[in-house]
């Protein structure tokens, strides 16, 4: 066994290339790479996605990942490869620094990837046998959904901002609890 270990050691000492490769890879993981209007160009694809030309590399389709989706949705946007591994290509420090049309492209991709309707009006919350049946008006139109009755259904992100999670895992946002009408607040009483 000793000898085998030894020849493994010999073997890798011969091979500096691989070490370089590994080092490079781990350094790439650490490096903060920013995509700016100088080094990156985004374009719409035929299929409804966005492609990227970054330095001398071209990506046919990229994934847009928000790093602070709830608090800073337009900052530090991580642009990643579209395959399963989703390796990071770079980050956009602030979306507003990109050219206008490219900002819109990225925003469209964000709208495609992230789904969290905003509740505008609570029409009814009816409770029946351990479930609450909600009827609300959202930014996506009227919607009926169902939640459990447990304490983790409505989560507060801040004093006034709430998230509601339904039984399928959809999340709905109530941006300002205090802006709701008296009746609406009363309906939410069960959860707050």
């Amino acid at each position: 066994m000793m000898s085998e270990d030894m020849d493994l050691l010999d073997l890798n000492l011969d091979d500096e290339f691989n070490e370089e490769e590994l080092k490079k890879e781990s350094e790439e993981l650490l490096e903060m790479r920013f995509l700016t209007k100088e080094n990156a160009t985004f374009a719409r694809t035929e299929g409804g996605f966005v492609s990227l030309k970054f330095g001398d590399k071209e990506y046919k389709r990229i994934g847009v990942y928000l790093t602070f989706p709830l608090t800073n949705p337009e900052e530090f946007i991580s642009i990643r490869e579209a395959d399963e591994k989703a390796k990071e290509i770079g980050m956009i420090e602030n979306l507003n620094n990109l050219p206008k049309d490219q900002q819109e492209m990225i925003r469209d991709q964000i709208r495609l990837r992230y789904f969290m309707p905003v509740i505008k009006k609570i029409m009814e919350i009816k409770e029946e046998y351990g479930y609450a049946y909600w009827h609300v008006e959202t930014s996506f139109g009227a919607c009926r959904f169902t939640t459990h009755m447990s304490g983790d259904v409505v989560v507060s992100l801040s004093d006034s901002r709430l998230l509601v999670k339904d039984i399928d895992g959809n999340r709905y946002e109530i941006p300002d609890f205090y802006a709701l009408g008296v009746q609406e607040k009363k309906k939410l009483d069960l959860f707050i």
Partner: protein, 783 residues
């Protein structure tokens, strides 16, 4: 889960099926998305007769958009307009990609919208679904992908696997209520089905049930009779002045006898109900437990562990409660109330009406305040929940709290919550303390009014004194259980839901069971994988087209990054799951034709997460072979290098381990597990990260033990530390769901492929350390 929705006539027309084309899957896409129509500069298009619409995503729910998959095409229908379609033969791949809170359906194709062939495939987003529909869409798209693959392989869509989903719907199709984790909606289910389940539940207890019902009838009868006797006594003996001491004696005697009789019967009935409830829930619990053990892992893994535990403990508890608190009273109370009402009406409809009026008032009041009462108490419950959660949080995170020195902050946070809870609780109790007496008073008012009018009637002779007293007693019978009655529907519904959740498990057929004619075999250890494919969810393959052969006595090392399917392969070998496609042959017999018990009794397993049962170390080592002698146990422990540390524990082999017992370290647990596997003297050995929790020295010692153990036995071993596998005859490298490389250590190194990369990476890492302990125990610096 339904994967083929019905389309309307106009939608079918728009779909325009050609001859020989048939609809296979059709699922709703509930978020608006309009696929682009070619030229990417034009961001608007005309999706039909309507006006121009912006392509891409819109913030809008869709109710009539469907993704239809036929045996030839994939079509997106918005209303009765086709917004996208593609021939499946032109698709490279169709996918349902999970996004955040939603999913998108994408098609990879070589053909662009003007039917030009592109140089390389590109992705098109065709539809978008919310979490409500994502599971359904995933299954349907998996079906579409099966057709795409089948068309590629043999040009025949008919040979594609038909995808079905065993997952339950989250909403009832009929009534739109949420389904409480059951296959059918407890509200819409026919009364007969519920009755059938209830009957089969009561199966062995029919005699007891009848006896209880009979006693309930007798009790109500006795209760109903007492006021009659009372009335006779007052009217015939007291008011007329003709009564004798004897009459008084008879009255008191009869009343007393009835009362005592009723009480005794009641006590017996309650005891019987409690016994029945406990017996029932116990037998259900046993049945459930046995069933869950029989059911294949696939059933159990699809559910959260807590959920199944709930079914065993909470749902059976609900059934018990029902029998104790509801069943025993339900019929007798209902009967008593109806009879009381009838008798009251015959005595005086007016008085009945008046007293009922107050009941109505009370109910109205209850209804008005119901929401408030419910809210404040639900809130109190939430607060208490939060409080206990935060206690749990802080206690389990105590080390972190202490190391960061944030005790004060945490204490302040906790006391804030505790104050909150106390405030809520005292407010609620105050409210209740005021509200409840008011209700009681109002209900009582009905009686006063009745007495007022009844008294008048008695004075003018329209009614006898006895009748009045009888009326009063009956009204007591009627109003007493009213509060309880309001809870009845909820309690019955809860019972029905629990019943359904229990029967869902009991009625489930285990996927892995012995076939007819499956046999016991003496394992020699020859394995052959033939075109094996498998995925835990049908829409996500974990292993695809695995082929290899293992000779008896060979040791096979399984290597690969985490999540590539190594453990899955082992699950298949142990037959915890059956392959979706292909077969595994053991000594020339299909694994599915081997008796499960016979297979498992000859496999020794050491898993990564070493689970020890509550019990002594001795019990745990003897787990697979309870008849082993003490000498055998010690022999096994010695082989596993566990004997020494066991001797050092205060109670030796009798040391209690498990949840509340002696705390063994990860390495010690692993060694006990290895001893357990060795004791069984298995023909087939499976080591899944068996030595991961050990330090280098004990790993070496165990390695020696394992080497003794593996010689002559077919062994499958998974290890991240590749040095563990140096004794393996062959290594199988799994990457991207299939076998990437196979061969001996040296062969694979020469190949300079994935394995080579893994080995050099690990050596590099080892080199990073200043010093490693060598196998002979001496410390030496590595090169």
């Amino acid at each position: 889960m339904k994967l083929l929705f019905t389309l309307t006539g106009s939608q079918l027309e728009a779909l325009a099926l050609t001859a020989g084309e048939k609809l296979v899957y059709c699922v709703p896409a509930d978020l608006a998305y309009l696929p682009g129509a070619g030229a990417n500069t034009d961001r608007t298009r005309n999706p039909g007769a309507g006006g121009l619409e912006k392509t891409g995503v819109s913030d809008r729910y869709e109710t009539a958009t469907f993704v239809a998959v036929t045996n030839q095409r994939l079509v997106v229908l918005a209303g009765d307009k086709v917004t996208y379609q593609i021939a499946l033969k032109d698709c490279e791949k169709v996918r349902c990609e999970h996004q955040v809170g939603c999913g998108i359906i994408t098609v990879t194709t070589l053909v662009d919208s003007d039917e030009n062939i592109m140089g390389e495939g590109y992705d098109v987003c065709v539809a978008r679904v919310s979490m409500r529909q994502i599971v359904r869409a995933s299954y349907a798209i998996r079906g579409a992908q099966a057709i795409v693959r089948s068309l590629k392989e043999n040009g025949d869509a008919e040979k594609a696997e038909q995808i079905t989903s065993s997952e339950y719907e989250t909403y009832c199709e009929k009534c739109g209520r949420a389904m409480p984790g059951t296959s059918s909606c407890p509200y819409c289910e026919g009364k007969m089905d519920v009755a059938k389940k209830f009957m089969s539940l009561c199966g062995g207890f029919v005699g007891k049930l009848l006896l209880i019902s009979l006693s309930m009838l007798v009790i109500s009868g006795m209760n109903m009779a007492r006021p009659m006797v009372q009335r006779w006594f007052i009217d015939d003996a007291l008011s007329t002045g003709k009564g004798t001491w004897a009459d008084l004696g008879i009255f008191v005697g009869i009343s007393f006898a009835f009362l005592i009789g009723a009480i005794l019967l009641e006590v017996w009935k309650n005891l019987a109900c409690i016994k029945l409830g406990s017996a029932l829930s116990m037998s259900l619990r046993e049945k459930l437990y046995v069933k869950i053990q029989i059911l294949s892992l696939s059933f159990i893994n699809k559910r959260k562990p807590g959920e199944l535990m709930n079914r065993v403990s909470r749902d059976t508890g609900r059934i018990r409660e029902f029998f104790e608190e509801v069943f025993g009273y339900m019929f007798s109370t209902l009967l008593t109330m109806v009879v009381s009402l009838v008798v009251m009406l015959t005595i005086s409809p007016l008085m009945t009406g008046l007293s009922l009026m107050f009941v109505v008032v009370v109910f109205a009041l209850m209804k008005v305040f119901w929401h408030h009462i419910h809210t404040i108490f639900h809130r109190q419950w939430l607060k208490s929940d939060e409080l206990s959660n935060s206690i749990q949080d802080i206690i389990s995170g105590m080390r972190i709290v202490k190391t960061f020195g944030t005790e004060d902050r945490e204490a302040e946070r906790f006391s804030q919550k505790a104050r909150d809870y106390a405030k809520t609780q005292s407010r609620n109790e105050t409210f209740w303390a005021v509200f409840f007496p008011i209700l009681t008073f109002l209900l009582g008012c009905g009686t006063y009014v009745a007495v007022l009018i009844g008294g008048q009637n008695v004075l003018v002779g329209k009614m006898t004194m006895g009748q009045l007293v009888q009326f009063m007693t009956y009204s007591g019978y009627l109003f007493g259980p009213l509060g309880w009655m309001t809870h009845l529907p909820r309690m019955v519904m809860q019972m029905v839901t629990s019943l359904n959740r229990i029967y869902d498990v009991l009625d489930e057929e285990p996927k892995i069971k012995d076939r007819d004619g499956s046999k016991e075999i003496e394992i020699k250890g020859h394995f052959q994988f033939e075109k094996v494919s498998f995925g835990y969810n049908t829409y996500e393959p974990v292993l695809e087209d695995i082929n290899f052969e293992v000779e008896p006595g060979e040791m096979i090392g399984l290597v690969g990054a985490s999540g590539t399917g190594k453990s899955t392969m082992i699950n298949l070998i142990m037959r915890l799951y059956d392959p979706d496609q292909g077969r595994i042959m053991l000594d020339g017999v299909d694994l599915r034709d081997v008796k499960v018990e016979s297979l498992h009794s000859q496999i020794g397993v050491v898993l990564q997460e070493t689970f020890l049962f509550s019990g002594t170390i001795l019990d745990n080592i003897r787990f697979a072979k309870p008849t082993a002698t003490l000498a055998e146990v010690i022999q096994a422990a010695k082989a596993a290098n566990a004997h020494d540390f066991i001797c050092k524990t205060p109670d030796g082999y009798n040391t209690y381990v498990g949840e509340h017992g002696y705390n063994l370290s990860g390495g010690e647990r692993q060694r006990v597990a290895i001893a357990r596997a060795i004791l069984n003297n298995p023909k087939l050995l499976i080591l899944d990260e068996a030595t991961s929790a050990l330090d280098t020295e004990s790993e070496f010692l165990i390695q020696q033990a394992l080497n003794r153990l593996t010689s002559g036995r077919t062994t499958f071993a998974i290890a991240h530390r590749l040095s563990t596998l140096r004794e393996a005859n062959r290594l199988i490298v799994i990457d991207k769901h299939s076998i990437a490389e196979m061969g001996s250590h040296n062969e694979l190194l020469e190949k300079k492929g994935i394995y080579y990369g893994l080995v050099t990476a690990q050596l590099r890492m080892a080199e990073g350390r200043p010093e490693v302990k060598n196998e002979d125990g001496t410390a030496e610096a590595t090169a």
